[in-house]
Symmetry: C2
Subunit: 335 residues, 2 copies
DNA sequence: GCCATATGGGAAACCGGTTTCTCAAATTGA
DNA sequence: TCAATTTGAGAAACCGGTTTCCCATATGGC
């Protein structure tokens, strides 16, 4: 008797029986494949709906050899970059019925190995690797896996697919914004020189200045990614002869430190000096006084693209390899 | 011929064939179940190892009716609370071979429904629900699911299992710390009064003061969770007659605002006034000048416990229902 | 009216494991 | 020495779907 059996899940067998067909026909009808009359198809679909049939994804995956599941591997313990990325991936993939395993592996190679193995055992269709250090690989080799891998915010192999923000464009926009404000003596206060992105951004900064015919000599200060360094940098700059009127910072925390230090010195922002940050970490940028103009890396969109690129790989479609640079946006606030 | 076939995954069938036994025996040997001679068991295990056999988790899940997978549902778009929690869950569960699907659903009920359905289709063994607002439920009803649910940082049903930090103890410790510094005029600057935790913490604050025989009248200021509010609160407090010498803040951002405002007024922290925050959001607390003394909610440990509680539920073990309050730790820095 | 083709649907194999049940051989007991 | 029990291992069913292949019937052409 076809009726809503409580507790137990409804299987395709139940549907088939209720519709008086075989499971084969039921399957074909529900998936719009094979040869089934329109009449029968509709009837089966109706019955399935009435019974509240939901196919067991595991069983389907077993035959299809597709689990509709991907893994996201990250060594960003803080979540600053991972969560927006994750949200984007998830958003991009949910339409494809794909779910995401998230694994935070820190810098522990053993843990990384365990998690990757667990993912492969669970038959993930692909893996997205990400980290906070673009130039540092994950502590595990993903190059020879049986599933495709996409790298986001992280250096992948030459013949792989890597998605990163276009730091060059972002930094260029930031500097051009400062120039448009009429700033002429522009310095760049940034993070440790061991980071690739630091050089990327510094280079773009210089280039934009040169293009505008503005001096770009000795205008980069390397330090750490902290507010503290922002303060220090202002101390250094304001002890010199020629004080800058525009400061482009390597991230929002540095910028916050810079702005605070300037205020404390009685320097008006943006009256005397304009400041631009990088990251658009709203919790920092919005609470800076005045709110910080900064570069947004559009991480959510980057995640979406990474997810979509991965499914295309999984589907065997051709995907252009190499480094994809996704545009950054300048978020103009009051600084 | 048993040999390392490249590309294709090794199945239990391959192992059985190479060891000249049936798949039934192979399965039993590898799982240490059934009746197999020690000799045969060892041989099969050795062969499996040599072939690099890794069981297909999907196939196993299908028969065992356990997917060794749980879902983590969150409406915390920012990751501030979710990621540490996630790390804890993951850490607690990896030993059990359990992986975690992470879904950020925001406040969208439709999206929530879709993700929950997707999880159920993928046969998750259980779900952990979490959010940034402890007193706001997720925009989807999880009460009548076929799998167990554990609530973390979020109000669950009466007969469910809910894990939250012990706000009362944390707030009490914070206030007692201020008292121990010799502070007598203590105020509490906290978030919006619609939040349950706000009242919880305010109450604990009052109680600790009363116990110490210190005045606790009109000493709570409700506002928002922002730095800006911290500034405003100092304005209010310092325009009054009797200025406080100890301030306990509802979160680190407020505390940061308070400390900055005090410094700008020339009030010395911790010389004239001691300040304690809540959350131990390191990025804020460590960069505050001076570094912030604050309450850590031990979210990672909370996540671990939530994960373990869930597997116990899944295993049908008895688990005490109700609200579990996990201890907070006071992190003493310089404020 | 008869043969070739198209159509709808089902039986059975399969995905990769687990588990029950059966059975032959080995061991034990009297 | 012979029956009763224990032991080791395999055949087959199963989990819940998908897919291939085959067959009966309906349709079309001449």
């Amino acid at each position: 008797m076809p009726s809503a059996v409580s507790g137990e899940r409804v299987t395709i067998y139940d549907v088939a029986q209720a519709a008086r067909v075989s499971t084969a026909t039921a399957s074909k009808a529900l998936n719009d494949t094979g040869r089934v009359s329109l009449e029968t198809r509709d009837r089966i679909k109706r019955v399935a709906r009435e019974l509240g049939f939901r196919p067991n994804s595991l069983a389907r995956s077993l035959t299809r050899k597709r689990s509709f599941t991907v893994g996201l591997l990250t060594n960003d313990t803080y979540g600053r970059f991972t969560l927006p990325l994750m949200a984007g991936i998830s958003e991009g993939l949910i339409d494809h019925g794909v779910s995401v395993f998230l694994c935070a592996i820190g810098d522990n190679p053993d843990l990384a190995r365990i998690h990757v193995d667990a993912m492969l055992d669970k038959q993930v269709d692909g893996i997205i690797a990400t980290g906070k250090r673009i130039d540092r690989p994950l502590p595990v080799d993903l190059a020879h896996l049986s599933v495709p891998v996409v790298y986001a915010l992280m250096a992948g192999p030459r013949d792989g697919i890597t998605l990163v923000p276009d730091d060059r464009q972002g930094a260029g926009d930031a500097v051009r914004h400062l120039l448009a404000q009429g700033r002429q003596r522009i310095v760049h206060v940034t993070g440790p020189s061991e980071f690739d992105v630091v050089h990327e951004r510094a280079l773009a900064c210089k280039q934009a200045l040169v293009e505008a015919g503005v001096s770009a000599e000795d205008n980069v200060l390397f330090g750490s990614w902290s507010e503290h360094w922002g303060h220090q940098a202002v101390d250094v700059l304001w002890s010199g002869a020629e004080k800058p009127d525009g400061i482009f910072c390597g991230n929002d925390q540095i910028a916050r430190g810079v702005v605070d230090a300037l205020r404390e010195r009685g320097v008006n922002v943006p009256g005397d000096v304009s400041v631009v940050g990088f990251d658009n970490w709203e919790i920092v940028a919005k609470e800076t006084r005045p709110p910080l103009t900064t570069v947004d890396m559009n991480l959510k969109e980057l995640g979406r693209q990474a997810g979509l690129a991965l499914v295309r790989l999984v589907n065997g479609e051709a995907v252009e390899t190499g480094v994809w640079k996704l545009p950054c946006s300048l978020i103009i606030r009051s600084s």
